[in-house]
């Protein structure tokens, strides 16, 4: 009998927790603590502990599928790949779109964008980050020069004031909650900004600013005005390292905690108290996620937070910063690899210069120089889509129209591990290997690059995504440009053209539990846990204040739809539920969809917990079980988006932030029917 404890990193969220997989005669039979891992030190959340179980799920995709006469039939790789190659050949650049994955490796994301740019001649390549941190890029690039997490998560415990804005970290980033708890036990003040009284607000917060949904800019402007009124802005920092302060001060002259209180519904004294606590801190840390970004004013929300950090100088030191929290295992990495309509790999902006750089790097000509479509435009305007490891039918707003658009495509290829709600609409489905069924690197939330090793074989004929893309490229006549015998060879190419990754090798990663933070420009460079220590990423190296004004959400309650709908997540399930809803323990905890509804609203409707009710917005209707709770305020409801039978995104509003095309997942008008 052969027993092995093999280390790996959890496949779910952005924390990047280590664990041991226990193998008995080659089969994974359990997950055990890996105590040396610096992020989680031998602890895991319920999802991580049970993660390996989905690998052996009976309904894993094992063979390619081709749609024929309305149903799928199995096919050989040869037949399926030939069909796809045939259908993709000759498709004009503007008609093709690639949708990449927040879960595939860097090597795989890199190949998919290369495929789209070299073979299909288009910059129509996007991934789920459009729906989570496109607002971050729009908000942080002009202000601090880079849209990445600025501190290592491990250093968060050094902060003495932590602002948690629009993120329920107890449920969505448990290991970061661990760090915040440590800080709190040492006396740190924790401020939570969230319209919901989440677990994080209830059990981590000293001050909960429970604002009206979508009023974050007003709140933060109010906080900044309070800081200025007290003279608590960091004058030295502002002087030495920023520009634009006078304009900000002028723009905030009409702002005040009282004015913010009117808009947000949060008491002025509380706003003031929170602002002063943050300003007076030695090390203030802002953590933010979807509650800030997923709005039509998402980029403004982020900008306001950046202003707040620059105003107080809480940036550029370990445990500080204005920190976006990308939630997927490769939410950061797939973007690093250029799966974005306006960025080539390494965040080289799409344009003639970057095209030339990669023409040299890849030995090709005529790379596209115009920005491509963003995610929703790819879905609505392209004719042919190649989609890998993502589930827009469940994750994109206005699901009904997403399905319509996908059914309208001339040809739709989906590459995934299960027949997801999106794959159901495909013409061809290709079975992927995932997680520990292949090797590769990912970049977790704090730019932490770690390696996942192959531990078991994929089921049936499923193959790694990088292999599939290479075979497809080969069939389309591009063998020499996609001639990789292994993921390792792809990483070598990445290192040669993505300077932030130049110093990162498999060898270095194997030796270091916890990985290496990029930028890592050379093999003897230790990596960069803290950003902006000396300089910002802007052309003049300074942080730039940018004043923003409060604008309300696109769709607020009215007579027909009197309540506010917010969507989000639960600890026990992950995003569209593809993996977690196939796991017994997790399903046992949360077996079905629910809507959180305030006791007063429940009373008005005459319902108790457990009652099935219907929710309707201008986009559609769903039926879901009520959960009466004080977590949502009167007039607001909350639905997690994990459940396909009560798909929250049937209801959500596809209205977009004009600056970054981020949909307003967090606010729309809804009515309940009993």
């Amino acid at each position: 009998m052969n027993l092995q404890y093999v280390p790996t990193i959890c496949p779910y969220c952005g924390c990047g927790c280590g664990m041991y997989l226990v193998l008995k005669d080659g089969r994974i039979v359990g997950a055990e603590p890996w105590k040396e891992h610096p992020v989680n030190e031998g602890t895991n959340c319920p999802k991580g502990k049970n993660a390996y179980k989905f690998l052996y799920s009976e309904d894993r995709l094992q063979k390619p599928l081709i749609r024929e006469n309305g149903t799928f039939r199995e096919a050989s790789w040869e037949e399926a790949l030939s069909l796809v190659a045939e259908k993709l050949t000759g498709v004009p650049p503007e008609s093709f779109g690639a949708l990449a994955s927040g879960k595939t490796t860097n090597e795989e994301g890199y190949l998919l964008q290369k495929f789209a740019r070299v073979i299909m001649g288009t910059n129509n390549v996007e991934y789920c980050a459009r729906f989570c941190h496109s607002a971050t890029v729009a908000g942080l690039l002009p202000t601090v020069g880079s849209g990445v997490m600025e501190t290592s998560q491990v250093d968060i415990e050094q902060a003495d004031c932590i602002v948690i804005a629009g993120v329920n970290i107890k449920e969505t980033f448990p290991m970061i909650a661990r760090r915040v708890l440590r800080a709190r036990r040492k006396g740190a003040t924790v401020i939570v900004i969230d319209p919901r009284r989440t677990t994080t607000a209830s059990y981590l917060a000293d001050i909960h600013l429970q604002l009206q949904a979508g009023t974050d800019v007003a709140l933060i402007n109010g906080m900044m005005s309070a800081i200025l009124a007290e003279g608590l802005e960091n004058k030295e920092f502002i002087e030495k390292r920023t520009a634009g302060f006078d304009e900000l001060r002028a723009a905030l002259s009409a702002a005040s905690p009282e004015q913010a209180a009117e808009i947000t519904g949060v008491a002025a004294e509380k706003i003031r108290e929170a602002a002063i606590a943050y300003a007076k801190a030695e090390k203030g840390c802002i953590l933010y996620d979807e509650g800030i970004t997923q709005h039509t004013t998402g980029s403004d929300n982020v900008t306001a937070l950046a202003d707040l950090a620059l105003l107080t100088g809480h940036i550029g030191k370990p445990g500080t910063g204005v920190n976006p929290m990308r939630g997927q295992i490769n939410g950061e990495g797939t973007g690093d690899m250029g799966c974005l309509n306006v960025f080539y790999p390494g965040f080289k902006r799409v344009g003639p210069e970057s095209a030339e750089f990669f023409q040299n790097a890849w030995g090709v000509e005529h790379l596209p120089t115009e920005p491509g479509f963003t995610y929703m435009d790819i879905i609505n305007k392209c004719r042919v889509i190649y989609l890998v490891g993502t589930n827009p039918v469940m994750a994109a707003p206005d699901s009904t129209n997403v399905k319509r658009a996908l059914d309208n495509l001339d040809f739709f290829v989906v590459q995934d591990i299960f027949l997801t709600e999106t794959a159901e609409h495909a013409d061809v489905v290709l079975p992927s290997a995932c997680w520990v069924e292949r090797e590769g690197i990912h970049a977790w939330v704090d730019r932490r690059v770690q390696k996942v090793n192959k531990v078991i074989d994929p089921p049936g004929e499923a193959m790694p995504d990088w292999w599939i893309i290479c075979r497809l490229a080969e069939k389309m006549g591009y063998k020499e440009k996609f001639n990789y015998a292994s993921a390792a060879e792809i990483l070598e190419e990445i290192r040669s053209c993505v300077p932030q990754y130049k110093g990162i090798t498999y060898e270095r990663l194997e030796k270091k539990a916890g990985g290496i933070h990029w930028p890592c420009p050379s093999e003897d460079h230790p990596g960069t846990p803290t950003m902006f220590v000396q300089a910002f990423g802007t052309p003049d190296k300074l942080g730039h204040f940018q004043a923003v004004e409060y604008k309300p959400p696109a769709e607020l309650p009215d007579a027909d739809y009197p309540d506010i709908l917010t969507t989000g997540r639960s600890l026990f399930h992950y995003h569209t539920g593809t993996m977690t809803r196939r796991i017994d323990t997790l399903n046992s905890e949360v077996p079905e969809a629910y809507v959180e509804i305030n006791p007063e609203d429940a009373l008005r409707l005459g319902i108790k917990s457990g009652r099935r009710i219907t929710l309707e917005t201008r986009r559609g209707r769903i039926e879901v079980t009520a959960k009466v709770t004080e977590r949502v305020s009167q007039g607001s409801i909350f639905v997690p988006f994990h459940f396909s039978e009560s798909c929250a995104n049937i209801l959500t509003n596809p209205a977009l932030d004009p600056k970054c095309k981020m949909p307003e997942f967090k606010v729309c008008a809804v009515k309940e029917e009993v």
Binding site: E32, K35, L181, Y203
Partner: protein, 407 residues
């Protein structure tokens, strides 16, 4: 015979040279395999030579034993769980297991619950005065010793000092109490563990009493252990000598000192609670801002705990006892687990290591266990024939008002 003591070292001069204490344990493990007394050896190995990353390994090839030699102080692998969960409780495999006192106690408690077949095990006990958490240890090496953690080739806890040796032979030491005042040093449960010599195993091996010899002091603790040592000597795998009276006394003295220090830590650890009244205590653990309000229901504690073994755990959502999907879970979650295990807690600390929210679980449960131990005169993990209080409820006790047995 049980109670016999020896200085022991390997018959193989090369092993004597290589081994920290004369290579006796290594030779004994090899002998167990070669003689067929064990089908496999279960021990802990530094993965890829990393002293901060210890994994259980199952060895069937005697030649692989040598690579696991040497005490690892920065790891605390859950050996008992490995046996129970992944090796079928040794139901059909004879296994020689190296075990610290907590490992051995855990194994015995699991054996009482028919989760481990003690008949198939040869327990090679290892003296222990504590291990350190790997991330803490690495930080300590950098901040307190000023060395690269990877340069350390051995650690030792001796006479109140933490001593390390680097690859180039340099030795450094720091005062253990000073380190532990800063929450560096040993795991919390290790500091208060008053059982350093695992006499509940088949043999107990350690440095105390070896004085300056390159030898291991071996105490025979059972008939099985006695036969095993006799055969090893007959088979010329190890050489043995009678330890001097001074050595015996020295060993006893060190044990007493370590035990005394542990009892002081117990008092320190539990003092804050002894000062609270029942309402304060309840609020501290189970109140709205209590420790358990941070729980995220990962079940890490339950998985790690050697006393927890139920296939259909009472805490799981489908049992209907604790509502599903709630964070923090209903107060019944921590209360039921505590109530189910506290009569038998062996203070292994695996639960506290496993908690993402750093709830001081072992502190609570072992504190309660110490109180119960006094009341029921029951010491967990020592005698496989001693049955835990929860399983020895008498009719008389059941007839007391307010006492119920719920199955």
């Amino acid at each position: 015979m049980k109670g016999d003591t020896y200085w022991a070292w390997s018959s193989d001069p090369a092993a004597v040279d290589r081994g920290e204490c004369g290579g006796a344990v290594t030779s004994l493990l090899k002998f167990a395999l070669e003689s067929g007394q064990a089908d496999a050896v279960l021990t802990v190995k530094a993965r890829d030579g990393n002293r901060y990353d210890g994994i259980p390994v199952l060895i069937t090839d005697p030649e692989e034993v040598a690579a696991t030699a040497g005490a690892l102080h920065c790891v605390s692998a859950n050996i008992a769980r490995c046996l129970k969960e992944f090796l079928d409780g040794a139901s059909d495999l004879k296994i020689a297991v190296t075990c610290k006192p907590c490992d051995a106690k855990a194994i015995i408690e699991l054996a009482k619950r028919t989760q481990i077949n003690l008949d198939n095990l040869l327990l090679i006990g290892l003296n222990c005065t504590g291990t350190m958490r790997p991330v803490t240890a690495q930080r300590m090496m950098e901040e307190e010793f000023g060395v690269d953690p990877l340069d350390v080739v051995s650690e030792d806890i001796e006479d109140g000092k933490l001593k390390i040796r680097l690859g180039d032979g340099t030795e450094k030491e720091r005062d253990l109490a000073e380190l532990e005042a800063k929450e560096l040093g040993r795991r919390e449960n290790c500091r208060r563990c008053d059982l350093n010599i695992p006499t509940m195993a088949d043999i107990a091996c350690g440095k105390w009493g070896a004085e300056d010899r390159k030898a291991t002091f071996v105490e025979v603790c059972s008939e099985r252990g006695s036969e095993f040592i006799d055969r090893a000597v007959e088979g010329e795998q190890i050489k043995v000598e009678q330890p001097s009276a001074e050595a015996q006394e020295s060993r006893r003295a060190k044990d007493r000192a370590a035990t005394e220090l542990a009892r002081q830590w117990q008092e320190k650890d539990f003092a804050q609670f002894h000062g609270m009244d029942i309402e304060e205590r309840f609020a501290y653990w189970f109140g709205p801002s209590g420790q358990f309000s941070q729980c995220i229901k990962c079940f890490g504690c339950r998985d790690a705990c050697p006393i927890c073994y139920c296939k259909d755990c009472y805490l799981e959502a489908d049992r209907g006892r604790v509502p599903g999907g709630e964070i923090p879970p209903d107060v019944m979650f921590p209360m039921i687990r505590t109530a189910h295990v506290m009569d038998s807690c062996v203070n292994c600390g695996q639960c506290q290591d496993a908690c993402p929210m750093e709830i001081p679980l072992a502190r609570l449960i072992f504190m309660l266990n110490r109180e119960l131990a006094q009341i029921f005169k029951y010491e967990p993990g020592m005698d496989v024939n001693a049955r835990p209080p929860l399983r020895t409820v008498t009719d008389k006790e059941l007839s007391l008002s307010g006492v119920e047995l719920v199955l």
